[in-house]
Amino acid sequence: AQSVSQHNHHVILSEAASLELGCNYSYGGTVNLFWYVQYPGQHLQLLLKYFSGDPLVKGIKGFEAEFIKSKFSFNLRKPSVQWSDTAEYFCAVNARVGGGKLIFGQGTELSVKP
């Protein structure tokens, strides 16, 4: 069965610090990979996605993620966080074959101190 594991439940950083959130997935076939973000009081929204091509993908607000197939990982990075990046971040995967349902990790809460 597919599963997604996020390494950190809660990360606290100061502004301008670098960010890396870990995500590993378990699935034997080809997958699409996503990072979603939920800002306080807002909807889940897509941050970035990977489904083919360059394994380094860039998303909105300066975020990027690298797909490492051999490690089944899709870690999210940002070189310098801002207070406005305070949010919950979810890694998700869906299979290329199948109904397209997303399997989510448990989420990482990021708190950025001004």
């Binding site: 909807h43 489904f51 397209g100 349902k101």
Partner: protein, 116 residues
């Protein structure tokens, strides 16, 4: 473009009562998903529709949960009777096509259900 609409935003009921949630996806989106998000966890798919047909309901507790999408547009999710463990946020999402599974799922604001 209007987003995914859900109502109500909040609902408090007692256990064994029934409750219904409504979702209106983005216009033209054929695929609709209902997810359950328990506090501290990521969303988990309950049911997926393609137009008015069910694609996946393998994780829907069918003894108490039901969902329909009669005209292939808006959808209703019902719980009857509710249990304490049903306390969660119920999210609705939609996408325009199944053919490209890399397409973004657009999420609504969710309905926060508290069962007492």
């Amino acid at each position: 473009e209007a987003g995914v609409a859900q109502s109500p935003r909040y609902k408090i009921i007692e256990k064994r009562q029934s409750v219904a949630f409504w979702c209106n996806p983005i216009s033209g989106h054929a695929t609709l998903y209902w997810y359950q998000q328990i506090l501290g966890q990521g969303p988990k798919l309950l049911i997926q529709f393609q137009n008015n047909g069910v694609v996946d309901d393998s994780q829907l507790p069918k003894d108490r949960f039901s969902a329909e999408r009669l005209k292939g547009v808006d959808s209703t999710l019902k719980i009857q009777p509710a249990k304490l463990e049903d306390s969660a946020v119920y999210l609705c999402a939609s996408t325009s096509s199944l053919r490209d599974r890399g397409l973004e799922q657009y999420f609504g604001p969710g309905t926060r259900l508290t069962v007492t």
